[in-house]
């Protein structure tokens, strides 16, 4: 068996004395797109900071490509929910993407610049390289953040509710963009979201979390055909069956809480 890209075993984490994560185990195989959903306030964001190495875990272990995590590793990129804070407003879009490549070695400045331009083109922002983030829309800012994350050629993309703050149409566009980029660049992705429809639409596998202290209560395969289609996929009987199942699970926890 190959080593999973990301592996979390029996992870627990408390913040300020409150247990947030209680014995959580999950793993992501090469090339998989995994969605993680759970009831509001179940500790999804805390989980992501632990999986990304931004926070140490209290017990258990997180490993990335077989290496135990101790801080953010090489080869992993994070996309944050709050794009307006994750981009540096005093740098132009292309310079923000370049900023994501500071730690890349063995690549010349020219190659980096070319790569930054290429990534901005890949997210559909060819004409906005020299704009500042605050001169473009929220959806475009999140595209810049995606370009920055991809520019450093990570093996794993962690996405923390990246589309929670954009309007519905933009959300659908960026969902499809993320799916095609993940496919094109063969990335392993882990998307944390509170949107059940989005979780199923995007993923090969949906992981459902419990209330705090959170752990995995369901791990569901999504056998929907690819490439996904906003209209066709969402009306597949299998999509609706999964949707009902996940929503029921989450509702049962809301009443239990």
């Amino acid at each position: 068996m190959t080593v999973p890209v990301l592996n979390a075993t029996n992870v627990t984490k408390s913040l300020g004395g409150t247990p947030i994560i209680g014995g959580l185990t999950l793993s992501a195989e090469q090339g998989e797109f995994i969605s993680v959903v759970g009831p509001s306030g179940c500790g999804k964001t805390t989980l992501l900071t632990c999986l990304s190495g931004l926070r140490n875990v209290d017990a258990g272990e997180v490993s990335f490509e077989g290496q135990k995590l101790d801080g953010p590793p090489d080869g992993m990129a994070l996309i944050f929910q709050d794009y307006s804070r994750s981009l540096l407003p005093w740098r132009r879009n292309v310079d923000n993407v370049l900023f994501g490549m500071r730690r890349m070695t063995g690549v010349s400045a020219q190659e980096k610049r070319a790569k930054a331009m290429e990534m901005l083109a890949a997210v559909g922002l060819s004409k906005f390289e020299t704009h500042f983030p605050w001169q473009v829309s929220g959806g475009m800012q999140q595209r810049v953040a995606i370009a920055r994350a991809l520019a450093a050629r990570p093996h794993l993309l962690l996405l923390d509710e990246p589309l929670a703050a954009v309007d519905a149409q933009t959300r659908a566009d960026i969902q499809d963009l993320l799916l095609s980029l993940a496919r094109q660049f063969q990335k392993t992705c882990l998307l944390v979201t509170h949107d059940v429809d989005e979780a199923i639409y995007m993923a090969d596998r949906v992981i459902v979390l419990s209330n705090r202290p959170t752990h995995v209560i369901a791990d569901l395969q999504v056998p929907l055909p690819k490439p996904r289609d906003q209209i066709a996929t969402r009306s597949e009987p299998e999509f609706l069956r999964l949707r009902e199942k996940v929503l029921t699970l989450i509702r049962s926890m809301r009443t239990a809480a």
Binding site: F99, F132, W134
Partner: protein
């Protein structure tokens, strides 16, 4: 080009007119009318300009030293708790000491030449800049640090490329306070540690009862002070265009 601020200009002219009329009515040789002061400014223009250049030069050097030292120092104090615990009480203790009170010490250690005066200016400028830098980096959203860490930057890189630029709006406010103080203290330092500069010119005019000449110097300082402040205001609007654009501040992308 900015539009002329007509009401402010009208107010200025009214005040100068009132000065002129009051002085002419009073007929007091210690209170010359504005027209006499203007004539004195014209007559002494060369001397005043030369003195002001000296005053400005020292103010600029003092300000530059204070910025170069205090911005990184403040960022360190603001970010590293251990350093904050050590230095903040000291800063708060030194801060209320008025600049003229340090003049004797400056005189003792740095002499009456440029060094003593520049030392006084650095001392005065240090506090608003230092406090701006400390508060500035502390006001930064913690998420910014996470962005830097997730890009695997070192602490120093996060400070230089994320913390400091993000804190610039607050640091710039401190710097603009320091600019005004630098000019003020540059003049005061000259009056206390006499050698040259516009402060000395004022002192000499006063001692020789050349009231109009002295007032001409004051008017010159006022004009220069206004221009310097305006320069920094423009600099602020330009450097921090991103800040004013995202917070909807005055003049937008100016």
């Amino acid at each position: 080009m900015r539009r002329l601020n007509v009401p402010a200009i009208v107010l200025g002219l009214l005040l100068l007119g009132a000065w002129e009329l009051a002085a002419r009515a009073g007929q007091n040789s210690f209170f010359p009318p504005f027209s006499t002061v203007l004539a004195a400014l014209w007559a002494n223009g060369g001397v005043i300009a030369a003195q002001i250049v000296d005053t400005l030069r020292r103010a600029a050097i003092g300000l530059a030293i204070a910025v170069a030292v205090m911005v990184p120092f403040g960022a360190l104090i603001g970010r590293v708790r251990f350093l904050g615990d050590i230095f903040e009480p000291l800063v708060n203790m030194l801060r209320p000491i008025p600049p003229p009170a340090v003049a004797p010490i400056a005189l003792l250690f740095a002499g009456t030449g440029d060094a003593g005066k520049i030392a006084m200016i650095v001392y005065t400028c240090a506090f608003p800049i230092l406090i701006g830098a400390i508060d500035g980096v502390r006001a930064n959203h913690p998420m910014l640090t996470n962005v830097g860490r997730s890009l695997r930057l070192s602490r120093l890189e996060i400070m230089a490329f994320i913390d400091l630029p993000a804190a610039m709006p607050i640091i710039m406010t401190g710097i603009r306070l320091a600019v005004a103080a630098a000019l003020l203290v540059s003049v005061i330092a000259e009056m206390l540690l006499t050698t040259n500069g516009i402060g000395v010119y004022l002192l000499r005019s006063q001692e020789n009862f050349r009231i109009a000449d002295g007032l001409a110097g004051v008017v010159a300082i006022a004009v220069v002070g206004f221009l310097v402040n305006d320069l920094f205001l423009r600099l602020d609007r330009r450097l921090l265009a991103w800040h004013y654009a995202t917070t909807g501040g005055a003049e937008g992308q100016g």
